[in-house]
Symmetry: C2
Subunit: 841 residues, 2 copies
C-alpha cells in the first residue's frame, strides 16, 4: 500500500528497515516481545520525502488516532549512525491542554511541558534564535508568557494551537532538515548512499510527570567501554525525555547503591520488569540494547531501544559472550567486529574521557598511544631507555640508523614522511605508536627544542603524548587504556582461525617480532628483512669494512665475521617459530645506508678504518644516489657484490641444520628482493644452490630450502612467467610495487597526498589502501602468468597492505595462498579473512 501515509506499528504491520527505518523496525520487535510500547505510527521514507516536497501529510488523521493528544516525533533512518533531526516531544500542547494539565498535574508541570514544546517548535520548526527560547530555571507562568510573547514578536503570529498544524510543521521541518546539503554530506561521510531515506515515527507521549511515582530514564546492561555485564543507566523522577541524563537532586540510582536512593528500591516490580526486558532484548533481539523508558504512575512504558554504542574492546566481549551463550553463532560474532577496530585492543589508547591538549594534528602512521619525554636523537633515546625513562623520539625523518633509537622509544614523531615512510613502516612493525608528516613543527637541534605551528615550544625532556591512532601529538601525559588481549579476544581469534581459508603470516625481523607473531598465531614469517640485523654497532663496523674492501677476498673476510652472528639470528628465529615457515629476504638496502651521513661520523669511520677522511668522503659520495629507491639495492647488490648473499645463504643453511638438531623441522625460504629480470633469479639461484651443496657436504646433513622472489617492480609482475621457472614462490611487496606503478615515492608523497585524496584524484592514499585497479592489475597479471607456468607456485603479498581487509579480499579472489603483515595486523587480517569466508557462504 504505497499510498498509505502512515502505518501503526503492530506486531504484524508491514514495517521494514529499508522502508521505515531502523527505529520503527526496532519498536515493532519490542512490541512482538510484548513490551509496553505506547501507540506509535511509522511514516515511510517515501512519505517523508513527499512531505518535504509539501505534499499533504494527513496530520489531522494522525492526531485524531492518539487518545491523549500529545505525541513525540523521532527520526528513523535506515542506519542509526547516519544521524537525523532531533526528536521533538509534547506535540499537541497548546493553551487549552495547558489549562487542563495544570488542573490535573499542577501549574509547574504543565508550564514545563508547554515551555519545552514552545522551545523545540520555535527553534526547529520556526527556526528562531535559540537564545530567545532558553528554558528558564523555574517554569513559572511569567516564563511561559514571555516565551509565547517572544514567539509572536518574532513571527507576527500566535503560537500555533492546532495539534495537527503543529505536527505538520514538525514533520515538514524534519523532512527538510534531512534533505539539506550539510546533513546529506555528513551522512554520506558515514557511508550513507546519496538517496538515503528518512522515516519518522510519531509516538503517543507516555508522560514521566504527573501523579504517583512517575519519571523517565535509560538503562543498559553492559559497560560500553569494556563490555562487562553491569547495570548502567539513570532515572529521574518527574522527568521527560533525556532529562535523566542531567544531574539533579531527583536522580535515582538504578540498582542498590550506598550513595543514595535507587529505582530498585523505589519500584522493585518496575525494576524487575526492566531487567526482564533487557534480557529479552539480549536473547531475542540478540544484541545489547539501551532502553529508554518512562514510568507513569508506576506503569512502565518502553519508548525506544537502541543498540548500545560501544568501544571495540566492548564489542569483542559482547559478541563473544552472545556466542558463548548460544544466542548468536560464532560466525555471527565474527561478522559483528570491524576488523580494523581490533587494533584498538592491541595497543594502549588514550582514555577517551580525558582532556586532550593537542599541539599537532598530522598523519596517523602506527596505532596506539604512548607518553614519554622528548628526545631528538637515537643516542638520547637509548640513554633514556637505559634510565628506564619512557621517551618519544622526535625527528625530521628516520633512517635505518635510527632503528635502535626507535627500539628504545615508546613512540615516534616525525616532521616528514607519509604512512609508508621509514618511520611509519618500522613503527608499525615494532607496534610503536607513530605520527608522521607533522609539517608545522620545526626542530631546533642547537637549542634541543621543538616549536609547534602554533608557536608552542617543547624542550628535550618535556613530556608529550603521541596518539598514533588519530595522528595527534599532545602536550603532557594522559590517562591510558591498557591493551585488551583477554579471553574474549583469544576466543574470537580462535574462531576466526578455524574459518579462515587464506594463510596469514607476519612480517618479523627480530626475535621480539617473531614472538609477537607467535602470540598472534601467525602461520609463519612471511617477510624477515635482514638489513636491521646489520645496524648493531659491532656489525655495522664490519659492514663498513666490507664496503671499503677492494677485492672479493677482502670482502669475504669481512663478511666471515658476520657469519656467526647471522647464523645465530636465523637460528633464534627458527627456534621461536618452531617449524613454522620463515621467509628470509636477503639484504635489500643500498650500501650507502650503512655509511655515516655526517662529516663527524665520516671522520670517526676514517679513524676506525685507518683511512684518510677524504677516502671515506669519496666513497660516501660515490655511493650517493639520486633516487635510492630505484638504485643499486636488492638483487642488484647481490649480483654485483655476490659475497654478501653467499654469506647470508650459508648462515641460513647452517642455522637450519642447528635448528633441525634441536628437533624443529625447518625448510627455510629465501627471498630475493627487487627482481626485474628472470636472469637475476637464475644467477643467484645457482650461487645459493652451490652454497647449499657445500654446507650439505661440510656438515654431512641434508636439508631442503625454497627460493622465491619478492615482486616489487612492475617488470617482475609482467615477467612472472619467466621468473616462476626458477622460483618456488612469489611474494608481492606492494609498498615498492605501488611506488613504481604510480611513480610515487612514499617518502615524498606526503607533500601532496592529502590534497590529492581531498580532490578525489586518488580515492585513497594507495600506500594505505591497495590500489586494486593499477597495482592490483599487476598482482593479477603476475599471479596468472606465474601460475600458468607453474601451477603450484605459492603466491602472497607481504607489503604494508597485507593486513588490510580490502587487500585480503583482493588476494583471496586472485587465488593467493597467504598474506603477510606486521604482527599487530595479524588479528585484523585473520578476522577480515574469516568474514570474507562467512560472507561468501
Amino acid at each position: 500500500m504505497p499510498n498509505q501515509t502512515f502505518t501503526q506499528i503492530t506486531p504484524s504491520a508491514q514495517i521494514a528497515t529499508n522502508t521505515h527505518g531502523g527505529r520503527a523496525k526496532c519498536l515493532q520487535r519490542l512490541l512482538r516481545l510484548k513490551m509496553p510500547v505506547p501507540k506509535t505510527l511509522a511514516i515511510s521514507f517515501e512519505t517523508v520525502h513527499a512531505i518535504a516536497a509539501r505534499e499533504p501529510d494527513h496530520t489531522d488523521q494522525m492526531m485524531a488516532s492518539f487518545a491523549s493528544g500529545l505525541v513525540s516525533v523521532r527520526p528513523s533512518s535506515e542506519d542509526p549512525d547516519w544521524g537525523g533531526p532531533s526528536s521533538i516531544l509534547n506535540i499537541g500542547m497548546n493553551d487549552l491542554r495547558h489549562r487542563n494539565m495544570a488542573k490535573d498535574l499542577g501549574e509547574e508541570t504543565a508550564n514545563a511541558i508547554y515551555l519545552r514544546f514552545i522551545q523545540a517548535y520555535a527553534v526547529h520548526v520556526a527556526r528562531l534564535d535559540p537564545d530567545m527560547f532558553e528554558l528558564p530555571a523555574k517554569p513559572t507562568n511569567e516564563a511561559l508568557k514571555s516565551a509565547l510573547h517572544n514567539y509572536t514578536d518574532e513571527t507576527d503570529q500566535q503560537f500555533p494551537q492546532d495539534p495537527a498544524h503543529q505536527l505538520s510543521g514538525v514533520l515538514r521541518s524534519m523532512a527538510r532538515a534531512w534533505e539539506g546539503t550539510s546533513a546529506r554530506l555528513l551522512r554520506q561521510a558515514k557511508g550513507a548512499p546519496v538517496d538515503a531515506g528518512l522515516g519518522l515515527i510519531v509516538q503517543e507521549m507516555a508522560l514521566g510527570v504527573g501523579k504517583g511515582k512517575s519519571g523517565s530514564g535509560v538503562i543498559h546492561f553492559v559497560d560500553a567501554a569494556t563490555g562487562q555485564q553491569k547495570i548502567i543507566g539513570r532515572y529521574r523522577c518527574q522527568s521527560q525525555g533525556r532529562d535523566a541524563l542531567h544531574e539533579g537532586h531527583d536522580v535515582l540510582f538504578l540498582c542498590k547503591d550506598k550513595r543514595g536512593a535507587c529505582l530498585q528500591d523505589a519500584l522493585p516490580d518496575v525494576f524487575a520488569e526492566l531487567l526482564n526486558f533487557g534480557d529479552l532484548c539480549r536473547t531475542r533481539l540478540r544484541e545489547e540494547m539501551q532502553l529508554e523508558f518512562a514510568i507513569s504512575n508506576k506503569t512502565l512504558h518502553i519508548l525506544d531501544a537502541v543498540r548500545i554504542a560501544r568501544r571495540s574492546r566492548a564489542a569483542v566481549r559482547i559478541a563473544v559472550a552472545l556466542a558463548n551463550d548460544k544466542i548468536i553463532t560464532r560466525n555471527e560474532a565474527l561478522m559483528r567486529i570491524e576488523p580494523r577496530a581490533l587494533s584498538e585492543l592491541l595497543h594502549h589508547q588514550i582514555d577517551p574521557d580525558g582532556e586532550r591538549d593537542v599541539f599537532q594534528q598530522a598523519i596517523a602512521a602506527s596505532p596506539g598511544a604512548a607518553s614519554g619525554k622528548i628526545v631528538f636523537s637515537s643516542n638520547a633515546a637509548q640513554a633514556s631507555a637505559a634510565r628506564d625513562e619512557p621517551c618519544i623520539l622526535v625527528r625530521n625523518e628516520t633512517t635505518p640508523e635510527d632503528v635502535r633509537g626507535m627500539h628504545a622509544s615508546v613512540g615516534v614523531l616525525t616532521i616528514r614522511g607519509g604512512v609508508s615512510s621509514h618511520a611509519a613502516v618500522i613503527a608499525r612493525g615494532l607496534g610503536l605508536p607513530c605520527v608522521v608528516g607533522a609539517m608545522d613543527m620545526v626542530i631546533d637541534r642547537r637549542k634541543n627544542s621543538l616549536t609547534a605551528g602554533n608557536g608552542r615550544v617543547f624542550k628535550e625532556g618535556d613530556v608529550i603524548t603521541i596518539d598514533g591512532t588519530l595522528g595527534q601529538a599532545l602536550a603532557g601525559a594522559t590517562n591510558m587504556l591498557e591493551p585488551a588481549l583477554d579471553g574474549s579476544f583469544a576466543a574470537l581469534m580462535d574462531w576466526a582461525a578455524e574459518v579462515c581459508d587464506i594463510g596469514v603470516r607476519a612480517n618479523a625481523d627480530t626475535p621480539n617480532d617473531a614472538r609477537l607473531a607467535r602470540k598472534f598465531n601467525a602461520q609463519g614469517i612471511g617477510l624477515c628483512r635482514t638489513e636491521h640485523m646489520f645496524f648493531e654497532q659491532d656489525r655495522l663496523t664490519v659492514m663498513r669494512e666490507m664496503i671499503f674492501s677492494d677485492s672479493a677476498k677482502d670482502r669475504m673476510e669481512a663478511l666471515q665475521q658476520l657469519l656467526p652472528m647471522q647464523r645465530a639470528d636465523f637460528f633464534e628465529l627458527f627456534e621461536i617459530m618452531q617449524g613454522k615457515p620463515v621467509c628470509i629476504r636477503l639484504l635489500d638496502p643500498p650500501l650507502h645506508e650503512f655509511l655515516p651521513s655526517t662529516r663527524e661520523g665520516q671522520r670517526e669511520l676514517a679513524e676506525a678504518l685507518d683511512l684518510p677522511v677524504s677516502d671515506v668522503i669519496r666513497r660516501v659520495d660515490a655511493l650517493r644516489e639520486y633516487n635510492p629507491m630505484l638504485g643499486m639495492r636488492g638483487v642488484r647488490l647481490g649480483i654485483t657484490v655476490p659475497e654478501i648473499y653467499d654469506m647470508q645463504a650459508r648462515a641460513i643453511f647452517e642455522a637450519t641444520i642447528l635448528a633441525r638438531g634441536k628437533g624443529n623441522t625447518v625448510v627455510p625460504e629465501i627471498m630475493l628482493p627487487l627482481i626485474s629480470a628472470s636472469r637475476e633469479v637464475e644467477l643467484i639461484k645457482s650461487r645459493v644452490d652451490a652454497v647449499a651443496a657445500a654446507v650439505r657436504v661440510e656438515q654431512g646433513q641434508d636439508f631442503d630450502y625454497r627460493l622465491g622472489v619478492m615482486v616489487e617492480t612492475p617488470r617482475a609482475a609482467l615477467r612472472a612467467g619467466d621468473i616462476a621457472q626458477n622460483a618456488a614462490f612469489l611474494s608481492f611487496g606492494t609498498n615498492d610495487l605501488t611506488q613504481m606503478t604510480y611513480g610515487l615515492s612514499r617518502d615524498d608523497a606526503g607533500r601532496f597526498m592529502s590534497n590529492y585524496v581531498q580532490l578525489g584524484v586518488y580515492p585513497e592514499d594507495p600506500f594505505h589502501m591497495l590500489d586494486t585497479e593499477g597495482v592490483g592489475d599487476l598482482l593479477s597479471i603476475g599471479a596468472q602468468r606465474g601460475r600458468a607456468v607453474q601451477p603450484d607456485l605459492v603466491l602472497s603479498i607481504c607489503g604494508e597492505h597485507g593486513g588490510n581487509p580490502e587487500s585480503i579480499e583482493f588476494c583471496r579472489n586472485a587465488g593467493y595462498d597467504y598474506v603477510s603483515c606486521s604482527p599487530f595486523r595479524v588479528p585484523v587480517a585473520r578476522l577480515a579473512a574469516a568474514q570474507l569466508v562467512i560472507a561468501g557462504k
Copy 2:
C-alpha cells in the same frame, strides 16, 4: 652430392653461400662473368667440419688436379665479417720444386717463395714460434737452409715434402682454428650463429713472380671514406699475395701519376681489362668490389674479389649512385644502409687515420666529436663562448642549471651518469658530443683541474677532444671529418620518406631544435619540454618568486610576468614548424630544480627576494626529495599549483591565435606529464578548457587544440582505457616508463649497468634499447586498452628510444601512429621505418 669432399668452382657448379661460403660464391660469379680466375676447388662447411674431426680429406686427389702443383688456401665463411684463418700461399713447395723453380725463375725468387711457405706452415700449421721464422731481408740460400733447419730442430721432423701432406696439414689447421673458442667468441660478437660454418677454397697459384711482366695487386673504384668514384689500389712487380700493400721501390701507381711509373702505362691492356672487370662487378654483381689480381707474364688473373669495406658516408653515396644508375632499386639502396650508421654522417667525426691519445674510456652518450678547452662550470662555458673559444664542459654531473652552459659548449664530459643521464639526454637533444660515466676521473674545483685515472692532469683551458661515438676523451685536438649532409644523404632520406608508413617527429625544446627538426623533415614536434624555457636568468628569477609566493594570487602575479615570454616561445615554434603539429608538454620538473643548491646561490636569492637566508634555506629543504624521480613533479605540480598550467595553457592559446594571424594553421597539442590516474586528466582538462574558452572570448577568435597524456608510469599504461576517455592522444615516455617498470633510476644505473649487460642479466641497457618484454608489454597493454575505448586515439612514443630501429619495429607492430626522437635521430628513425616496410613486402 653431400659426400663429395670438394667441388671445382665452375659457372654451373653447386656452390652456395650457406654451404661453401661467400668467397666461393663470389669466385663462381666472377667465373660466370668470364673473368680469368685460376682453377679453384671449394670445400663445403660440412667437409671442413669433418676435416677438423680428422676424417679423410682427399688431398691427394685435390693436388693431383692442379697442373702447376702450387696452391693457395683461403677461408670462405658465410659472412666475410665473421673472420677466419689467414690465407696460406704456395702449398706444394718443396725441395724438388724449389730446385726446378730456381732454374726457371732464379734462385732468389724460388727462395722467397719457399721461405714464405715454410714460414706460414711453421707458424699456422706446426704452431711454432713466429720469431724463429721471420722472413729475412734477403731470400738467400743461407736463409732458406736456416729456416728448414729451424723447422727440423723444433719438430724433430723434416719439413714435409709431400704436397698432399702439406695441404692436409693446412686444411686441418684452418678447420680447427675456426672451431677454437676464441675465434667462436669473436665471431659471435659480430653476430655469427653458434654453429657458423667455414668453407675453404683451394686455388691454383697464379704466380706474380717469374718471367716477363709479372706482379700482383689490388684495385677498387671508389673512395672507401667518401664513396666518390676514384681508382685506388697498389700494384707491385714480382710480388705475391698482399705484397703490394707494403712500400717498396718496385711499387707502381695504378693510373697515370706525376710521382712515378704506373700500371696504366706499363700494361695498358691489362689495366683496361681491370677497369672493365670493375665495371662488370658494379653492374652485374651490383656492388663496389675490390679485386685482388696477379699478372703472370702479362696475363691477368683475378684471384679474389671482396665487397669493399666503407665508412657510412661512403656507403650512402655508393648506394645512392648505384640506384641512380639503375643498377639497384631505391628500395635496395635503402636496405643497404644500417640506420644507426647514419649518425656518423650527421656529426663531426675524428679522422680515423689520425693518432688517438685517449686518457679516458667511458660511456658513449651522444655521437660526434669535438675539440675545445676544458671548462668546469656553466659560467665559464658561457664566458668561453663569448670569447668564441670552443670549450668542453667537464662536470661531475649536469643539472638543469647547466643547460645554458651546455648550449655554450661544443662537447660535454661527465664523471657520473649513464646513457640516459641528464647530460646524455640533453646533449643528444642538442646534437652535442657527450661522454658520461668517466668514473676514473676526479675534478678538483679548487685547483680547477682534472685528474684522469692514469694520473694525467688537465687544467682549465687545456684542449681536449670528446668522441661521443666511441665514448672516449682524448688529450689535445684531432683532425675531424665534417658532417656529410650532401645530396646523396638528402636523396636517400627522400626515398625513405616516400616508403615510410609510420610518422617520425622530433623532440624539440628550442627554436634551434625546431629548425633542426625541419631540416631533417620531421613531421612535427612530438615532445616540446617547456622546463628549459624557465632556466634563462630573468625567467628563473620570476619562477623563484613564484615558488616563494604564499597565495594563489601572488603566484598568478609572478606567473603573469612569464606569460609574454612563454607566448613568444610558442609563437616562434609555431612559426618555424609552419603548421606541422607541435606537442607541448606542460611543466614537468619538481620545483626544487629551480632553486639554487649551493649556500652561495641561496644567499644571493635571499637578497634578490629580500628574505632572510634562513627562509630560503628552509624552503629549499622543504622541497628536497628523497626520490625526485618519484616526487612532486609533472601533473602533481599542475594540480597542486594550478596557476602554472593555467599560465602555460594561456600562452599556448594566445600564441596559436598569433600564429594563425600569420597564416599558419596551428592546432596545438598539450601533453600532461606523469599521469598516474585518469582523474588527474579530468581535473587539468577542465581548467585548460576554461582557459581556452576565456581566450576565445577575449580575442574573439576560435581555435582547436588537442589534449593528451604522456604515459610514463606503469599505472597510466594499465589504466589507458580510463585515461583515453579524456585524451586525444597517448605518448609513451619510455625513459621514465623504463625507470619505473624496472625500478631503476637512469641516473644511478651506470654503477652496475655494464656489469649487468656483461653477465647477460639484461640483454641490453634498457635505456638504450627498448625492453620489448617488460616495458613493451606495457606499451601494448596501453595501446590496446586505450584504443578499445577510443579507436582513433593517436599513439606514439617520445622517449629516448623513439629513434631506435628496434623500438620503431615494435611500435609499428603495435599500431602506433608515430615515434618522436631527438632531431638528429630523425633520419635514423625514418630509414629504419622504411626498411621495415620494404622488408615486410
